[in-house]
């Protein structure tokens, strides 16, 4: 059974992210950052999950994650990303984007750079300095892209004081999340259910492509790109629906999978095993979707808390005549043939699971019940 360690940290956690391991190294993830929300004083903190070698001693305390350091953060932490090994970018509900620097020798965090009015409202009724929450941030060294409730997209570069490029009024509704497609292209999702692709090489403030569902305009909250196939994108919506899109083909999703009962806050493809997908939701569950096609017929669950549920999906696009090997298993979900194993990873229902991150065999997630869960044996 997968061992999940829970720790109650007295603050509601809005984001958790693993620190990336240096490329080419054999290390596994050992440090993660967490951001809190809804407190009078919010913190961005760094945690360590201890020695990997102590796992099979008595379990319990040695497996627990320990706080390394933290720093005050103004406003709720709306999004968190590691810029590189030492720097963390945090998006705040005050519209401010901050880069924190971690000093490993004395285990402290300090503010390295800050863009205070990255997102703000202008309008006939809003005060002149009305701030807008910054809802999403994504980094690709040396660029940082942020989006916010003001419908604005900012492109920052580390160590530049002003934004390199700003697309004002990119969207008339709130932009919820952003991800890189290819380096000069980003994809945003908004609260009227549209995906928009923006190309920074082009001038002008128009998206290069817009995709959406034809049905109800359900707001989309999270997006993630397939690690190897840059045209496959997964999004999670307000009704808990998981959609897989192929951005080259048409403007409609490839498949819609009914998943959670409430908003899906985050969706992540596993970076090294992209046949596995993880989603977490307001209804307090965290699901692991396993679409690897060579999985034999498994009749039993492999953990007590798990829930192996059938899913409801309908393939929209016509996949006839395409080589199976070239398509990722996500694009060809045919209910008759491929089965997606879905298991619930958290032992019991909690309040909303706000965030999750996966790296290697490790998974971390943070909840509104003030707990952080870590497991180091995802694929046991």
């Amino acid at each position: 059974m997968e061992e999940i360690y829970a720790k109650f940290v007295s603050q509601k956690i809005s984001k958790t992210r693993w620190r990336p391991v240096p490329p080419g190294s054999l290390q596994t993830a050992d440090t993660f950052a967490a951001g809190s929300w809804d407190n009078e004083e919010n913190y961005v903190s760094l945690w360590s999950i201890g020695d990997f070698g102590n796992l099979d001693s008595d379990g319990g305390f040695e497996g627990d994650h320990q706080l390394l350091c933290d720093i005050r953060h103004h406003g709720d932490v709306m999004d968190l990303q590691f810029f590189d090994q030492e720097r963390i970018v945090a998006a705040s509900s005050t519209g401010c984007v901050t880069v924190f620097l971690h000093h490993p020798n004395n285990q402290t965090l300090s503010v390295s750079q800050q863009w205070t009015a990255a997102h703000y409202h202008t309008g006939p009724g809003s005060p002149s300095c009305g701030s807008a929450p910054c809802t999403g941030v994504v980094c690709s060294n040396p660029e940082i892209v942020t989006v916010g409730e003001d419908g604005r997209i900012n492109l920052f570069r580390a160590d530049h004081k002003e934004a390199v490029r700003t697309i004002d009024n990119a969207d008339s509704s709130t932009l919820h999340a952003v991800t890189f497609l290819r380096t000069p292209e980003i994809l945003t999702v908004n609260s009227i259910g549209q995906l928009k692709i923006w190309d920074f090489r082009k001038q002008g403030n128009e998206p290069s492509q817009i995709l959406s569902l034809t049905g109800d305009r359900v707001p989309l909250h999270c997006v993630d790109r397939h690690p190897n196939q840059q045209h496959v994108v997964a999004t999670g919506g307000q009704d808990g629906m998981l959609s897989i899109w192929d951005v080259r083909q048409g403007t409609m999703p490839v498949s819609l999978l009914k998943a959670h009962e409430a908003e899906m806050w985050e969706v992540h493809f596993h970076p090294s095993n992209p046949d596995h997908l993880f989603t977490c939701s307001e209804d307090g569950s965290l699901w692991h979707w396993d679409a690897s096609t060579d999985v034999p017929e498994k009749s039993s669950l492999f953990n007590q808390g798990g829930r192996n549920s059938t899913f409801l999906s309908h393939s929209i696009s016509n996949q006839a005549g395409v080589h199976q090997s070239l398509i990722s298993s996500w694009l060809s979900t045919d209910p008759a043939k491929d089965r997606i194993e879905i298991t619930s990873l958290l032992p019991s229902r909690t309040l909303s699971v706000n965030s999750l991150d996966v790296l290697g065999p490790c998974l971390v997630c943070g909840t509104d019940s003030e707990a952080i869960y870590v497991t180091r044996q995802l694929f046991s």
């Binding site: 509601k12 809804d38 509900s93 409202h121 409730e149 709130t174 305009r217």
Partner: protein, 514 residues
């Protein structure tokens, strides 16, 4: 607080009978007076335990807490160390060993226990009378304690530290088979003896006394007064209520005490900036007033970000609180409109299924169009989808935009019929009619005939309809100029319509047109 809770558990919930009561009380004291263990470790850890400064203090405490086996072990160490007192230690040890206690297996009856205990008590007395322990004052005082001598116990006030410890020890060594009913008498007298008139009872003492008297309501009342928040009282009352120990006497606004306290606690949670999510669950468990209170509280949570708003809305939707959903969405939508985020405003009104607000947003779009001559936020209007059906005005907006698209793509007949249907179907707002009519002009002026004769008649009818119902401008000045401009437009329109009618009739009348 844990002290009070455990005592309530013992007295109210477990309802221990006479003999077992004392055992439970002993456990309770041992749990909450815990310096003993560290002292024990200290003394045992030292090289020569019996010569340690606190040795006798430790032994006394062990006896006071009824931990006679450990006390005996200590004494044996003393016996090893100083052979002179070995004999006395042995005797005392024997006395400790033979003290009758009620075994958990409960094989003896209470009377048997009483008898045995009486017997043992007398033996201790005899030793004391015989001055067996005369040479060692420590051992003598230990013996007196074991006899339950109040004076000896009071001497150990420091070690006892509080009156309930005194009470339990006293009961242990003088009335081990105490019945629950008599408990409060001993409690009161212990309190008086211990305090000795020096200090007055503190709130904690009052609470404990009330507990010993088995007066649940008094306990709750005292706790409510003494403790700073409602957490303890709410949970204790809830627990007692589930054990059916509280008679529900109805408070004057209709709920019982448990619900009242839970409501107070949950309201307190809502006042906290982040604990409001827990408060929701508490309100769910209050059958009478819970839902109403939740409805009132949930609308007043400050919403600083959309994510928080979404969580609040989800809570409301799960409980079918449609009114609250509407009002929260309306607030958010208003904010969005003020900040010029018309798409957000629309998505909030869709979530609340609020047709009126959707109408407001569409009016805003149309106003923008009138002022600027072009649409803002085309991405939104072009992709409305089924949400268009939410309100008439929204549908009109979508269709009007479609008309523009048709015109742009030169699909003139489609544009023409759409325009006509917009006017005849009555979904166009009155203020927009003139614009629609003016929009018809370029179509009428096209080289080929776009409007059929039927359609032209319709248009003329609409025009006359509009002209007859135009509001009469009362004030002179600017309005006159506007009126003139309008009149000119209408004249042009009439001319164009007439011309088109002519052409259409000719076209339809001729061979190709039929």
């Amino acid at each position: 607080m844990e002290l009070i809770w455990n005592l309530c558990e013992i007295l109210f919930i477990e309802v221990a009978p006479a003999g077992a009561l004392l055992l439970h009380l002993l456990d309770w004291v041992r749990l909450h007076v815990c310096e003993v263990d560290s002292l024990l470790a200290d003394v045992l850890g030292s090289e020569n335990p019996s010569k340690h400064d606190s040795f006798w203090k430790l032994v006394t405490i062990l006896v006071l807490q009824g931990r006679l086996d450990e006390a005996r072990q200590m004494l044996s160490k003393e016996a090893d160390a100083s052979p002179s007192s070995a004999g006395m230690c042995r005797i005392l040890g024997d006395l400790m060993r033979t003290m009758p206690v009620l075994s958990p297996g409960n094989t003896q009856t209470l009377t048997e226990l009483e008898l045995k205990w009486q017997h043992w008590h007398e033996e201790c007395e005899r030793h004391l009378q015989d001055s067996t322990f005369a040479s060692s004052p420590h051992l003598e005082s230990l013996c007196k304690i074991m006899l339950g001598d109040e004076a000896a116990l009071l001497e150990q006030k420091e070690l006892l530290n509080n009156w309930y410890h005194f009470l339990v020890t006293r009961l242990l060594y003088s009335h081990p088979t105490v019945k629950p009913i008599d408990l409060h008498l001993y409690a009161q007298s212990s309190l008086d003896l211990f305090l000795g008139g020096e200090s007055s009872p503190e709130p904690l003492d009052n609470i404990l006394l009330a507990a010993f008297e088995f007066d649940i309501h008094q306990v709750i009342k005292e706790c409510s007064i003494a403790l700073s928040n409602w957490w303890f009282v709410a949970h204790l009352t809830d627990l007692l209520d589930h054990c059916k120990l509280l008679q529900s006497h109805n408070l004057y606004f209709g709920s019982n005490m448990r619900e009242f306290l839970l409501l107070e606690y949950a309201s307190g949670l809502f006042a906290h900036h982040s604990l409001w999510q827990l408060g929701v669950d508490y309100f769910d468990y209050c059958p009478e007033l819970g839902r109403v209170s939740l409805e009132l509280h949930i609308e007043r949570i400050p919403l600083s970000t959309e994510q928080k708003a979404l969580k609040v809305l989800r809570i409301c939707e799960q409980r079918q609180m449609t009114e609250q959903v509407r009002s929260i969405c309306k607030i958010l939508a208003m904010n969005a409109v003020r900040n010029n985020r018309l798409g957000s405003a629309l998505s909030w009104s869709i979530r609340a299924k609020d047709a009126a607000f959707a109408t407001l947003v569409s009016d805003r779009f149309l106003k923008d169009y009138c002022e600027r001559g072009s649409f803002s936020d085309l991405d939104l209007i072009d992709n409305l989808g089924p949400a268009m059906m939410l309100s008439d005005r929204l549908t009109f907006l979508g269709k009007y935009r479609e008309f523009h698209r048709f015109y742009g793509e030169k699909r003139l007949t489609d544009a023409a019929s759409l325009l006509l249907s917009l006017m005849t179907s009555q979904i166009a707002p009155r203020s927009f009619w003139v614009i629609l009519l003016i929009d018809a002009l370029p179509l009428l002026e096209e080289k080929e005939v776009v409007f059929s004769a039927e359609q032209t008649y319709e248009l003329m009818r609409c025009l006359e309809d509009f002209a007859s119902r135009r509001p009469v401008w009362r004030e002179p000045g600017v309005q006159r100029i506007q009126e003139d401009v309008e009149n000119t437009k209408l004249e042009m329109l009439r001319l164009a319509l007439a011309r088109n009618l002519g052409r259409a009739i000719i076209k339809e009348g001729s061979l190709e047109g039929s």
